[in-house]
Structures are given as structure tokens and as C-alpha cells.
């Protein structure tokens, strides 16, 4: 990237998102719910509509021109994603529906077959339900136990506790890369190293990391890594499971059907090549094309710059909210290990009520437990409000959020 040091040109970027111009009751939307889903820029929408207008066909089974084009586009999308996250080629990139399905693929295919009584699955207290509930249930079925690395007062993982927990009985360590509630960027390379020291595997939930910062799965060393297209300027309906080739090769398929087989008889079947072995049935082809376009779009801006922009906004939001006096903020103070989101509560106002009132100012944030209910129990609150930023957000939008809090205070005073 030639302009790595320059700030992001937010004006130019916003031009590619007509949705950000939308108004409700004459007020322009302030979209601060990016950790739930990001908006989709024109080049991504265009890539998908071009695909439907020009190349649509089923993949891997037609000899005709259109099927060739569709198959090529679908396969090349795997290569592009592999390149983006530093994987060794398309064999290591399985397309799924979303992060949740990636997690379930691993848990059903590897977990259900390999976990035994006495084995330990080590999670963190800040896991999203996508991994927490999945491992909890797979552990119940296999007799394995589940342990949680503690979150300390500052909202960081207690790494001493991690070192205590991860031992020779540990079969897998499953950790969230960036917490969708606390914003904490976890030391996932260190956790992976701990896992490997004890011959355990590591799975990293990168749903909030890949969209917002440079991620290289080989640098982390993770055995498995998951993320969703719709949180990274891409479409819904597509997610990724990265896995080390030799591990994916040894794993049983999770779904069975057509398009994944080498040979089928009435008695038995053998499996096709990676990654198709894990992608039976007609896959999300247009979505793969969209994800490819999203990766191109993100890299053109540059992931370092996206990270810096978001961290800057999160720091600004943190400081503005903190100076309000009656706002409790969760997670670490702004710094290198905090990503672009801020969860908080205003004293005396339930997060749900707060969000309804902010919606009157067309400020869109999220309220609830953000699929981290056990973490909220630990924080001692039922719910929190969360503002999460993306590359198109501005300081002025943060100001609108902070100003709108006054309305809530007045109503509930």
C-alpha cells in the first residue's frame, strides 16, 4: 500500500454506501452497529448483481460456458480469501454460511469424533455463544469437560489462569480473537502456543478480527480460524472456516451430499478433494463472488488503516462517554489491545430503553447481551448498549451518539 500512513478518506468511502444517506423522520442514519453486521459497498453489490446478470449457473457440474464461469469465480474466491488471511491455498479455506456454522462444522466433524471423557475443551469467559454453546453441547455428548479462562477486572484474559488450565488433558483451546462485547484483542498466538505445548489444537473465532485488522493465520499458528462475510463489507450467507490442510484432510465431512464425493456406490462413498469435501450441495456462489469483492475492497483501503481508523474512533468514543460521569464502560482502556467497539450502560437507564431513544435520533446501536450472556452475568448486568465502528464512521457520528444520551437522562431522571 502506497498511502499506508495517510488517514482513511472517509468522504470518498461513504460515497460507496448509499444506505448511509438514508433518512428516517428527516434525520440521516448514524450506523454504529457494525459488530452485528457491516454495510455493503457498491463494488460488492455490483459484483454480485453482475454475477447474476452475466454468469449465473451451478458450479462443478456443467460443461457449458456459464457453469465454467461460475465455477471459476467460485473457486477463485477461495484463493483470494486464502491469500487475504495467509492460508496455504484454497484447500485450507472452507466456505460455510457464517462463523456459527464454521464453529459447528469443526465441533461436529472433529469434536464429536475425537473428544472423549477426560478430555478438556478450554474456552474463555468472553466467548460468543457461537462457540460457547456449541462446545458446551458437544462436550455433553462426548463426556468431555469445558473450562473457561477467566476475564480479569480490566476485561483482559487472565493468562496465568490460561497457563494453569491448559494442560495435557486439553484437547482444544477455543478463543475469541476480538471480543464482541469488551472489544479486547486477545493474545491468540500465545494461547495457540500454549495449546500446542500440550499437543492440543487451537480454534480462533475471528468474527470481529478479520473485518477490522490485518490477520495472518500462519503467524497466529491457529489450527482453525473462523469469520463471517457480512461483518467485513461482504454479503450475508457466507462464512469461512480456515483449517490446516492435514487436519482438514483427516476430518470426516460434516454435511453429506452431492458435489463432495469421489466415488459413490450403493454401499459406500469416498470423499472428494479439499475444500469441496466440506461444501456439499449448491454453495453460496454469488455470496462467494461478493466476499471476493469485499476482500479486494478492504485491501485497497488497507487493513492497517482500517484498524487505525476504528481504534481512533473507539478511543474518542471511550473518552467522550467516560467524561459523562454516569456512564459505565466495559472492557480495557483504549490501547493497542482494544478494537473498534465500546459497550456501556448509562446509570438509571436500561440498555433497551436507551437504544429505543437513540433510535429516535436515528442513531443505530445494539442493546442486549450480544450473545455473551455468561460474560454479562459476570459483569453483573443483564444487558449493555454497544456502539461499534467501521471504516466509514466519523467523530461527528460519535458526537451525535453522546448528545442523544441526554434525552434518555431527561426521560428517566
Amino acid at each position: 500500500m502506497s498511502h499506508q500512513n495517510l488517514a482513511v478518506d472517509v468522504e470518498a468511502i461513504r460515497d460507496e454506501f448509499p444506505i448511509l444517506e438514508r433518512e428516517f423522520d428527516g434525520q440521516q442514519v448514524v450506523y454504529l452497529d457494525n459488530a452485528a453486521t457491516t454495510q455493503t459497498p457498491d463494488p460488492v453489490v455490483d459484483a454480485m448483481s453482475d454475477y447474476y446478470r452475466e454468469s449465473n449457473a451451478n458450479v462443478h457440474r456443467g460443461i457449458h460456458h456459464l457453469s465454467q464461469e461460475a465455477s471459476e469465480a467460485y473457486e477463485v474466491a477461495h484463493d483470494r480469501v486464502a491469500e487475504f488471511i495467509g492460508a496455504d491455498g484454497r484447500e485450507e479455506v472452507v466456505f460455510t454460511k457464517n462463523t456459527t456454522e464454521s464453529e459447528n462444522l469443526l465441533a461436529y466433524s472433529w469434536g464429536l469424533n475425537e473428544l472423549e471423557p477426560g478430555d478438556e475443551v478450554v474456552l474463555t469467559e468472553m466467548e460468543h455463544h457461537a462457540s460457547l454453546v456449541t462446545w458446551q453441547q458437544i462436550a455433553k455428548r462426548t463426556g468431555a469437560s469445558v473450562e473457561y479462562v477467566r476475564v480479569d477486572e480490566d476485561g483482559r484474559l487472565d493468562m496465568d489462569h490460561a497457563r494453569e488450565l491448559i494442560g495435557d488433558d486439553t484437547a482444544i483451546v477455543s478463543a475469541v480473537h476480538v471480543s464482541n462485547t469488551l472489544g479486547t484483542i486477545n493474545p491468540v498466538a500465545e494461547l495457540t502456543e500454549l495449546a500446542h505445548e500440550h499437543d492440543a489444537l487451537s480454534f480462533i473465532d475471528g468474527a470481529q478480527a478479520v473485518p477490522n485488522q490485518p490477520v495472518d493465520v500462519k503467524e497466529i499458528g491457529a489450527d482453525f480460524y473462523a469469520f463471517s462475510g457480512h461483518k467485513m463489507a461482504g454479503p450475508t450467507g457466507i462464512g469461512v472456516l480456515y483449517g490446516k490442510r492435514e487436519l482438514l484432510e483427516a476430518m470426516e465431512p460434516y454435511l453429506y451430499g452431492g458435489g463432495m464425493i469421489r466415488k459413490v456406490t450403493f454401499e459406500d462413498s469416498t470423499w472428494g478433494e479439499l475444500p469441496w469435501k466440506f461444501e456439499p450441495g449448491t454453495p453460496p456462489i454469488a455470496e462467494a463472488v461478493g466476499l471476493h469483492a469485499a476482500v479486494d475492497w478492504l485491501e485497497e483501503i488497507g487493513m492497517e488503516r482500517i484498524r487505525d481508523h476504528e481504534q481512533e474512533l473507539a478511543r474518542y468514543a471511550y473518552e467522550q462517554l467516560e467524561s459523562e460521569g454516569d456512564v459505565e464502560i466495559y472492557g480495557p482502556e483504549p490501547g493497542a489491545d482494544r478494537g473498534g467497539l465500546v459497550s456501556f450502560n448509562v446509570e438509571g437507564v436500561h440498555a433497551h430503553d436507551l437504544t429505543s431513544i437513540l433510535n429516535d435520533h436515528t442513531v443505530a446501536i445494539r442493546a442486549g447481551d450480544h450473545c455473551t450472556q455468561p460474560l454479562h452475568d459476570k459483569l453483573g448486568v443483564a444487558a449493555s448498549a454497544r456502539a461499534s465502528f467501521y471504516v466509514y464512521n466519523t467523530r461527528e457520528e460519535v458526537d451525535k451518539l453522546v448528545a442523544a444520551l441526554d434525552d434518555a437522562r431527561q426521560l428517566f431522571a
Binding site: 428516517f24 423522520d25 436500561h350 440498555a351 433497551h352 430503553d353 429505543s356 431513544i357 437513540l358 433510535n359 429516535d360 436515528t362 442493546a367 442486549g368 447481551d369 450472556q373 454479562h376 443483564a382 444487558a383 434525552d407 426521560l411 428517566f412
Partner: protein
């Protein structure tokens, strides 16, 4: 102003800030706890029936949550006094919204009907018409 502020009319805020019938009954005929998993609100409804086992003598609620769910529980607890269990079971979301007297934005309807659902599930369990394991409110 949009729907949001319209929801927080004086009556709602008053019931939220000064909840009626708040607390737990010493000798409820039936009691039930339910959650709205969307926002983590939890409400407990205690119902005391008269000797006819049909007329609602008194209702108390407890728990905490957003203004809409709390105000709804507070108003419902008053509304139900003197009514029958059948009246309670016949209530639907429109009745609750009428009772609240404000427009409830679609995403907040679950908050509004939580107390009603919890009371209804409690009544059905009491009558043996609902398996406790299968209630939508108890998690």
C-alpha cells in the same frame, strides 16, 4: 420524534419509576419466572386466587428490566385483580398494548408482553395444561 419517545409517555414512566404491586407474595397460589432472552429481562409473577380457584385476588411482580417490561408488569398486576384466570388466558398482545396505551415499536413488543406471558404460563402450569419444561418463558 419517532416511535421511541412516544413509547415513554408519562404513564409508562410513572409505572416504571413507581411500580405497583412490586414484591413477592407470601402465599401465592402459583408463581412463575420468565425471561426475555433478547434483553435479559427477568420477571417473576406471583398470583393469589380466591377460594373459588378462579378469581384473581392479588398479583405481585418482581424482577428487573427495561421500562416497557416493568411498566407492563406493574399495570398488568393491577389490571388482573378481580378478573378470572380465563380472562388472563384470553389476553393477547393487542390487549397488552391497549393497556399500555402507547405505540410499541415492533422490536419492543417482546418486552411489552413478557409479564402477560409469564402470568399465562404460570396459570397453565398450575392447571396442569402446560409442561413446565416446555414453557417459552422459563429458560
Amino acid at each position: 420524534m419517532g416511535l421511541g419517545s412516544d413509547m415513554y409517555r408519562q404513564q409508562i414512566l410513572d409505572h416504571y419509576k413507581n411500580p405497583r404491586n412490586y414484591g413477592e407474595l407470601e402465599d401465592p397460589t402459583f408463581t412463575h419466572v420468565g425471561e426475555n432472552p433478547m434483553c435479559g429481562d427477568e420477571i417473576r409473577m406471583d398470583v393469589k386466587l380466591e377460594d373459588d380457584d378462579e378469581t384473581i385476588e392479588y398479583v405481585a411482580f418482581s424482577g428487573d428490566g427495561c421500562a416497557i417490561s416493568q411498566a407492563s408488569a406493574s399495570m398488568l398486576s393491577g389490571e388482573l385483580q378481580g378478573k378470572s384466570v380465563d380472562d388472563l388466558l384470553e389476553m393477547d398482545r393487542d390487549d397488552v398494548i391497549d393497556m399500555l396505551g402507547v405505540d410499541i415499536s415492533p422490536m419492543r413488543v417482546k418486552c411489552a408482553v413478557l409479564a402477560e406471558k409469564v402470568a399465562q404460563d404460570g396459570a397453565e402450569i398450575y392447571r396442569g395444561e402446560l409442561d413446565k419444561e416446555k414453557t417459552s418463558t422459563e429458560d
